[in-house]
Symmetry: C2
Subunit: 438 residues, 2 copies
């Protein structure tokens, strides 16, 4: 991803910084990033930390940035000098990417002189918010697919270019097997996959000519799109090409259905393929899929081997944003909290302790003070940056994927339900509760 | 915006290109970009063309891109050489940004040798899709606000960084007055605006100290956030600061409400301000607003002068994607169409003719062949690129904003309804219909 400009922020982050600077306010402040309850999500999957650490470590206002700010006429020269020398020198605790977490639990806490910690607000919510939103949606799709292969097909409908990259990365983190997004393949090492468009079939005189041309060029990985004209005729053409390929020693990987009643069509196409002695040819389906339709198709026992999941996952269509916020919880060593109606925050620097059964299954989380210990649980938030420096090299995406899988295995089935899952128990420690009455 | 990599595409665009190259298929193909009907949108606002023209004119596969593609093992060397020399040499017709259009009408048509026109599919849908989605959502908010000022506050919740830029630009195009997004201010010349966060108020001993510190530094543009502790107490503190500022010859611009019952609170706050002789201090409201809540607040006659609109507009929450597609409609001089069930396309190169009343009000659109003339309407699609070169310099954003305003004024009120608006009549010319039976 291209470096994020420090001007990609809300103006108030800079005017507040100017006011702190003018007043000589530089005491350390701790901010906590968390998401409020969402009616359609029982759990969340942490993601986006890597992009944030890279941004924070490299945070610098360049000459052009300062010139633009000067031209707004809003800022004094002394503040602009201060900004051009600004580096992040604080500490960050965070959930590793791939960690399962719940509403109101801190995903990340930043402690730094108030200007430095405040100024991260906008970009932090933006980057962690999107990555987490999509990892969570993708995990729901993976759960619904019951082990069948999923491919991210969302790039054309993601909300912009870097959303396309984030979606590819977050969905891979949460168990997708590949993406159609070539740049994501290059940048993150994610396996890339694809088939063909209807226009390709239409560019040939006959459908079977298009199939043969593609199969000749990509004999190891041909998936034929069979619904341009008539799906069943297309399936018969594909079976014929599969037999021709077999003579050359190549297997046809599969056929792809992209429209119509996928349950009924997949059965008819399976029958055509089986009758043509093409039992090894897989059926791949796409077109408006999400966790709900995946679940339905599998309940119907549709003979589909793999799915391309696009738009609905790529924009998290049923829940296109999280109510994620970044709130000051400690200032100058004292706990603080906002008390606006319905939007109150929990004061204090925190830790989450996760309590598990003897088999490792998650039983309950307790949000506590960071200074507490809790022998019945293990801590989830880890130090990731100290005095402006990362404590670990960038995590390997394949390892994060395993971390997610381990986490997800330990979450009981009930909490993974697609609709109306029960609330996972999240309690507050007594010390944390007492602090709220300060 | 940073240049878009040509690898930001679906793998199949490249494998299809390789197959066309291998087969020597290079006849010109015309693709049409349009959006299918959306149940929650009666009209759309075209946007995103500028970014696309810049991308297409500069389209180049660099050495690193080619190296990555080589390493996938999918492509032959001859094709990689071809790709590294590829430039777009085709023609594009498009709706100017800010044009009102309707479902099934072409937003843009590309004609070029098939590899060149096909390869634009993913990025074109992505970029025009998001920009149009947001311009449309923003237009609905502007309509609901009945002339009150709107500010884009969405950056923290947009789906990624460049979505934040696109949202700022599209919402400004559709009549918003400013954005909080500083980088959008720098890149597009959009006015920037902002207030303060609750954490700012909390960083001072007393709320009124925070207000005074901010007012001293920004005497010309202070908006005080009054709901950190108690909104009515906050309003009284703001009134006091307004009186102090007045003595210094400065006006307090306004106070901001960000939580609670905005109708009730705005009345109480207005009364407090008026009683304190601060009739000139405006009330600014934010917090979960969209066209529906704006409409409701104005129906209640809530005394609010301006609104910060964030998340719901920034992700188009009630309709987070458009069913926008890019379909081949002509190949090698012949009309073509896909016939998949429920997803059929209209063959042929097209023009949209808009028929208006004597007063200019839009009465009906007719989708016709590009070669047709239609004296009762005027054509909407314009040539914007010929043989790979732009025909006009980049359009001025302020002019596009006026173009939108002119368009929007000529759309009858009925079609602007927020819920269940009637269908605007869009017909097909006889010649176009006859072509579909080829």
């Amino acid at each position: 991803m291209t470096p994020i400009s420090p001007l990609l922020t809300d103006l108030y982050e800079l005017t507040m910084a100017a006011a702190y600077f003018k007043q000589g306010i530089e005491a350390p402040a701790t901010f906590s990033l968390y998401t409020r309850r969402h009616p359609l999500r029982g759990y969340f999957v942490a993601a986006g930390l890597e992009a944030i650490l890279a941004f924070v470590e490299d945070l610098r206002f360049g000459t052009e940035d300062i010139d633009y700010l000067r031209n707004t006429g809003l800022f004094e020269e002394a503040f602009l000098s201060y900004l051009s020398a600004l580096r992040f020198e604080g500490d960050i605790w965070a959930l590793p990417e791939g960690t399962i977490f719940f509403a109101d639990e801190p995903i990340l806490e930043v402690t730094a002189p108030i200007i430095q910690s405040q100024i991260l607000e906008t970009i932090l919510i933006n980057a962690v918010g999107l990555a987490t939103l999509i990892a969570t949606k993708a995990a729901r799709c993976v759960h619904a697919a019951q082990g069948r292969s999923l491919i991210d097909f969302s790039l054309r409908r993601t909300q912009g270019a870097d959303a396309g990259l984030t979606v590819a990365r977050s969905s891979y983190l949460a168990g997708f097997d590949a993406t159609s997004n070539v740049l994501a393949g290059k940048q993150y090492g994610i396996p890339i996959a694809g088939t063909m468009a209807h226009s390709f079939v239409m560019a040939f005189e006959r459908e079977i000519d298009a199939f043969r041309a593609y199969a000749r060029l990509f004999p190891q990985r041909t998936l034929l799109l069979v619904d341009t004209y008539d799906t069943l005729v297309g399936a018969r053409n594909a079976a014929q090409v599969a037999q021709e390929m077999r003579i050359q020693g190549h297997p046809l990987v599969g056929v792809r259905l992209d429209s119509g009643d996928l349950n009924a069509l997949s059965r008819q196409v399976r029958a055509i393929l089986d009758q043509a002695d093409c039992k090894e040819v897989k059926i791949f389906a796409s077109g408006g899929l999400d966790e709900y339709t995946l679940d339905q198709l599998l309940r119907q026992n549709a003979p589909i081997d793999a799915f391309g999941v696009g738009t609905s996952m790529g924009v998290s269509a049923d829940a296109p944003y999280l109510d994620m916020v970044y709130k000051m919880v400690q200032f100058n060593g004292q706990p603080v909290r906002k008390r606006s109606f319905g939007k109150a925050t929990l004061a204090g620097e925190k830790q989450i302790f996760r309590c598990a059964s003897r088999e490792g299954e998650y039983v309950e989380d307790v949000i506590a003070l960071r200074s507490e210990t809790m022998p019945e649980g293990y801590p989830l938030l880890q130090p990731v940056m100290r005095a402006g420096h990362r404590l670990h090299p960038p995590a390997d995406l394949v390892e994060l994927r395993s971390l997610f899988q381990q986490n997800f295995k330990l979450l009981a089935q009930a909490y993974k339900g697609l609709t109306n899952p029960p609330r996972y128990p999240v309690g507050l420690s007594r010390q944390l509760m007492e602090m709220q009455d300060y």
